[in-house]
Amino acid sequence: MTEVTMTVNGKLMRGEVEGRTLLVSFLRDQLGLTGTHVGCDTSQCGACVVHVDGKAVKSCTMLALEADGAEVATIEGQADADGSLNVIQQAFQDHHGLQCGFCTPGMVMSAAALLKENPKPTEDEIRHYLEGNICRCTGYHNIVKAILAASGQEAAAIAAE
């Protein structure tokens, strides 16, 4: 067991982990941050996406020890302290960008990373950026629409109902 320390959603967190403990297990099992999900074991689905030092990372693919000393952001830290949703979360709700909600935390975190890199992505850029995020419920239509809307682009004009 080795001690790890990381800042998660702005709070300093400490824990003991085995060498093989994945970051996602540390977040879910030790810190109780169950908003980050596990949808696969081959690093393909993106349900587990969090930000590590500002970059989108699949937390099922990173060891907890590798995040020692890092700044980690998860879905639990995205809304404002008063509970109001951030722009991306709000756009997902407004445009019905989620159904069962299982892929949603990863989608929101990936979208945040995309918009940081590319504040006004095209439809195509969004679809390609989401290559590593699988959603089985929505057929992606409303997810893409929500991200366009979150980027301040007129989603309705681009996406037919």
Partner: protein, 787 residues
Amino acid sequence: MPKDHGIGASPKRREDLRFLTGSGRYTDDINLRGQAYVHFLRSDMAHGKINGINTRMAEEMPGVIRIFTGADFEGIGGLPCGWQVTDKHGQPMQEPGHPVLAQGKVRHVGDPIAAVVAESREQARDAAEAIEVDIEELPAVIDMKAALEDGAALVHDDLTSNLCYDWGFVEENKAAVEEAFQKAAHVTTLELVNNRLIANPMEPRVAVGDYDRADDESTLYTTSQNPHVIRLLMGAFVLGIPEHKLRVVAPDVGGGFGTKIFHYAEEAFCTFAAKQINRPVKWTASRSEAFISDAHGRDHVTKIQLALDADNNFTALRTDTYANMGAYLSTFAPSVPTWLHGTLMAGNYKTPLVYVNVKAVFTNTVPVDAYRGAGRPEATFQLERVIDKAALELGVDPIALRRQNFITEFPYATPVAVEYDTGDYHATMDKLEEIADLKGFAARRAESETRGRLRGLGINCYIEACGIAPSNLVGQLGARAGLYESATVRVNATGGLVVMTGSHSHGQGHETSFPQVIAEMIGIDESMVEIVHGDTSKVPMGMGTYGSRSLAVGGSAMVRATEKIIKKAKKIAAHLMEASEADIELKDGQFSVAGTDKSVAWGDVTLAAYVPHNYPLDEIEPGLEETAFYDPANFTYPSGAYACEVEVDPATGKVTIERFSAADDFGNIINPMIVTGQVHGGIGQGIGQALLEGAVYDENGQLLSASYMDYAMPRASDVPFYTVDHSCQTPCTHNPLGVKGCGEAGAIGSPPAVVNAVVDALRSAGKDITHIDMPLSPARVWAAMNG
């Protein structure tokens, strides 16, 4: 002006707040004090005889609490099958046992052999690797036709063959169908495969068993679409726990698509083991495990023939299907290729004679059961493909051929035992022609050609049957369950309502849409209504969510219970206003006396029900809570017309979906936003089936497509924006809401449109191609073009 409230409005989903902030409560998020973890040792062989299992070394491994094998389940029931099909000779299907842990033999890759319960997940997994199993490999049967040959290895030694049943429908029509084929002016024949799929909800299955020794009570938390059904099946048939000692909870569930309907071995195991070791036991499937343990879908091999007269009227239809059951009968497996498939073979057309034959076959593969659409996509695909092929052979327009044969008068009794109550197939086709801009196709095709791409247009219709019912009929057809739904509506003293519904929401948004109905009925704000579902200790009874039944059946039960509430509330209001009950009207949350200005508010009446000082106690009891069970009179029959435009790159065979349009008739609609989302999701899965997905076994029964590296799930870049319209509405005539169901339509209606479009594209380049089997991978399309 769209409504902002009640039926027909699209309020934002209230469940989104928890899902968007990471505060959903999925089964894997549940951790109980002192819980142990189970890891299943699964067969890596498709078929084998178990000679011995040595757990001694594994038991010594750190953290191991107990190891279970099939021997621990001797004398305990196996997993039951919920539907008994009768074959064409009137005999019951062959029904093999399905042990919780393998006994004597393993029958598919993934069959659980042993279960290690340990202090941690890792310790359980490590110890499972130390179990020594001595299994003698037996020849595996994978191909359905080979499985039926004389001398084929038997999946179940106690059965006479690998044939589960040979079903004929409608057997009495068989001779007349033959005769119509003799007389036909034209016969079109098509052989095709409906590819085997894996549902892949993004949340893998999870089960947490708990046991309370003091009360002798078991609790199971599970990723299920129908917790009450699991309680009944597991309690009554497997573990022998009476319902009042067994609680099943399905909290937030991350998608189901059918594969979370069924009762699985892992659920029974965790419930059983928790009692044995007197500690909670948790199992979380890895995705790799899901691929070899979740029931698969589809997997039909079919030959269909359509007979037409000299005027191109359909005169008869005949179809022969081999349907894969896999190694065991999953909960509803036998019903899928029969009653959910054969009854839909008339489609939208007035073909007077139809005969359906289905041979269900055991193979050494994962069990196959319902997946989004369940039987109806298989029916629609073959029917709409054979019609397109007929249009090609006859040189007629595929839309005109369909229109000419549409059913136009309702109610319509089909030759396959069902009666469509309403529909307007010309209207949805008209709407499709408009929204898909079919007039503009020629110009778009010309433009694609300038870029060296082949453009194709595929259209098709579909009919579906939702809310399978009524119970007394499905009982005759072999269902071992009722197919009603229940709801309890509890009104609190201060006027708020709680609805306890047997429907389960795992993405469908019931917490938002169900309150819209009540808000409309009473004239109050939706925020006054709370929905409770997914817990057998809170909801009296439920048959769950599948077959697009929630609103049509569960919503109707809620309406019936609310009607009872309103009736009683009117009595109370009449008493309060000293008026006659017959004169009381309820509007906008106010009870008034017709023709006067007297009124009392909803909240005054509900308060009176619980503080009955001024109350008709001699006539009615205090309190305001009602339960209703609703058993529908018939299925509902949504229908629609879909169009797909593809581009094919002739150099690579790659297909891209350029446009996809859907015109559906779902009857009345409660929440258009949610309905649109359901159609989008269905289309996404249908495109997945048509272009990408396929579960592939090698001849030894190894699943080659057992991870997301090998099983191609549709990604955002594989699909376009869809154009969806549901303004054509012929309300269902037999449920109080006039709703039909929308959950599966997209998955049913879209695969034939895609394949029709690709065939059209290739033919535009002069290729004489009439069919390609799904998934239309670049390799298959390229081979078809260059073969």
